[in-house]
């Protein structure tokens, strides 16, 4: 499960139901920006919660600020901050997104959302040394998450699957395969999600995301609303037996969906993930 603020009590009461907890570390600090010193201010309230939780449940990190595809920004100090967190809580692995939101080194601007960059050789050449550096600095498996995208670029040099396969093969990094993102892209752009998954090197998948979405402006969106739909569980059924390195299935939902799910709903999603992944994941979370 990915932690959100609506889950503070749940995590306290139901930690025994969790094999691990994914947390967004960026929600526990204020980042005053690359030029500030000190740059990061931890928020004691969130730190307290994670300290207490980490005593009972293994934590994994799912960060949102690396913007690893930004052409003109590679934020080593941000990676250092992640490494500090990883050390504090002994996170089994760390992940971020294969996208950019930050641009304009010096005077930074933000797109207010994660944007995909075209799957070209140029991007691959940019990413390979960065991923190597991140893996080395973090000292734990590093995963990149496949994008949700609402438009496509013409003339990309590689397909998404080719790009992911080559990136993971050449860097040794793992894949955080978000199945709701695959489902969303397949619905919006009219392709067969199973065919897409069949062209991916699933041996690189270490974690899977499952989530729900909603309709908006004629699209299916990745809004993390409510439970994951049946179609996403079908994709998990395809992936799980073909992904020998899979160590966790994470249910994500937006805190505004808590009234829709509540304790029973969340536990139901975790049970469903476990029953499809076929084996108790607890034993496999640690290498």
């Amino acid at each position: 499960m990915l932690f959100n603020p609506a889950l503070a009590d749940f995590v306290h009461t139901h930690s025994a139901s969790l094999d691990y907890l994914a947390v967004i570390p960026d929600r526990s600090w204020v980042d005053h920006g690359p030029a500030a010193s000190p740059r990061f201010d931890d928020l004691p309230e969130s730190v307290r919660l994670f300290e207490q939780t980490a005593l009972r449940v293994p934590l994994v990190m799912h960060s949102i600020g690396m913007s690893i595809c930004s052409a003109d920004i590679f934020d080593a100090a941000y990676v250092d901050q992640l490494a500090r967190w990883r050390g504090l809580y002994q996170c089994a692995w760390a992940s971020d997104h294969l996208s950019f939101s930050r641009s304009g080194a010096g005077h930074e601007s933000n797109a207010a959302m994660a944007l995909p960059s075209p799957y070209d050789r140029e991007l691959l050449d940019l990413l390979i040394p960065r991923v190597d550096a991140v893996q080395q600095r973090l000292g734990c498996p590093f995963l990149l998450e496949n994008n949700v995208y609402y438009f496509t670029y013409p003339d990309q040099e590689m397909t998404e699957a080719e790009f992911l396969n080559e990136l993971t093969a050449r860097t040794g990094c793992s894949l955080l395969l978000d199945l709701h993102n695959v489902h969303t892209n397949a619905l919006n752009h009219g392709f067969d999600p199973i065919e897409f998954l069949g062209s991916l090197d699933l041996s690189r998948v270490l974690e899977v995301h499952v989530a729900g979405g909603s309709a908006m402006m004629g699209f299916h969106t990745d809004s993390h609303t409510g439970p994951a739909p049946d179609a996403v569980w079908d994709l998990l059924r395809f992936v799980a037996p073909r992904a020998p390195a899979l160590r966790g299935v994470t249910f994500e939902f937006h805190e505004s969906s808590w009234p829709l799910l509540r304790t029973a709903g969340v536990l139901g999603q975790l049970d469903r993930a476990r029953s499809i992944a076929a084996q108790p994941l607890h034993s496999s979370i640690w290498p």
Binding site: D26, V30, D31, G33, D41, L43, P44, E45, R48, I64, G65, S67, C69, S70, A71, D72, F100, S101, R102, S103, G104, E108, S109, N110, A111, A112, M113, L115, S117, P118, E122, L123, L126, Y149, Y150, F151, T152, Y153, P154, D155, N188, M216, M217, G218, F219, T221
Partner: protein, 210 residues
């Protein structure tokens, strides 16, 4: 580096829908300020023409609005009829500056305060509702930065006093229910004390029954 210019242009099209609209209507000329290859220009034009770009712009606006409505839910309800235009005006030249989208709420507060001070926007209840929410927010922020064991003892909790000029007992409950308050509430002096006790905001007022 061309890729960085491409990303800067796409980012600008996402947070400034007017650029996306111009590229959709006019093609490449509005992108002249960016140092792009022919392929990158063609891609940005294709993206601008894709209906998914409209959705992207809407989602980015929603993300920017998140921190604002978290801090100022009552102000946003009060401003509902004008909110879209006010945000358009604020965001026309103001870009998000960091991935945490911190500062969006500060910018909106400063923008509204400037509008009120300059007389460019007037609303009989806005100043006091805005002051009430910014005071409450400042107290909650102090809690977020308090280390365990550093909590103030009873009687020494942080507080703010906000002077309402309309009865908060008539003004705040409708806003808290997501509705507009009645027009024409009578004026007066209603000092309200907002205190942070533990992790709860306690609101006390001199008016009996509130």
């Amino acid at each position: 580096m061309a890729l960085s210019e491409f990303q800067r242009a796409l980012s600008e099209m996402t947070v400034a829908p007017s650029l996306a609209a111009r590229v959709r209507a006019e093609g490449e000329p509005p992108l002249a300020a960016y140092d792009l290859t022919a392929r990158e220009r063609a891609r940005l034009v294709a993206v601008a023409q894709h209906p998914g770009m409209d959705l992207n712009c809407t989602l980015a606006r929603g993300n920017r609005f998140g921190p604002i409505v978290d801090v100022l839910p009552l102000t946003c309800t009060l401003l509902k009829p004008w909110l879209r235009e006010l945000l358009n005006e604020l965001w026309q030249n103001k870009r998000p500056e960091n991935y945490q989208l911190s500062g969006e709420e500060h910018a909106f507060v400063a923008f509204l305060q400037g509008k009120l001070a300059g007389g460019e926007f007037s609303h009989p209840y806005l100043a006091e509702v805005l002051e009430y929410e910014t005071a409450s927010w400042a107290l909650v922020q102090s809690l977020r930065h308090t280390a365990e064991g550093d909590e103030p003892p009873p009687g020494a909790e942080p507080f703010r006093v906000v002077l309402f000029t309309h009865d908060p007992a008539a003004l705040l409950p409708p806003l808290e229910a997501g509705a507009l308050p009645p027009d024409g509430l009578p004026g007066g002096r209603y000092p309200v004390r907002v205190t942070l006790r533990g992790d709860t905001l306690v609101v006390e007022h001199e008016t009996p029954g509130w």
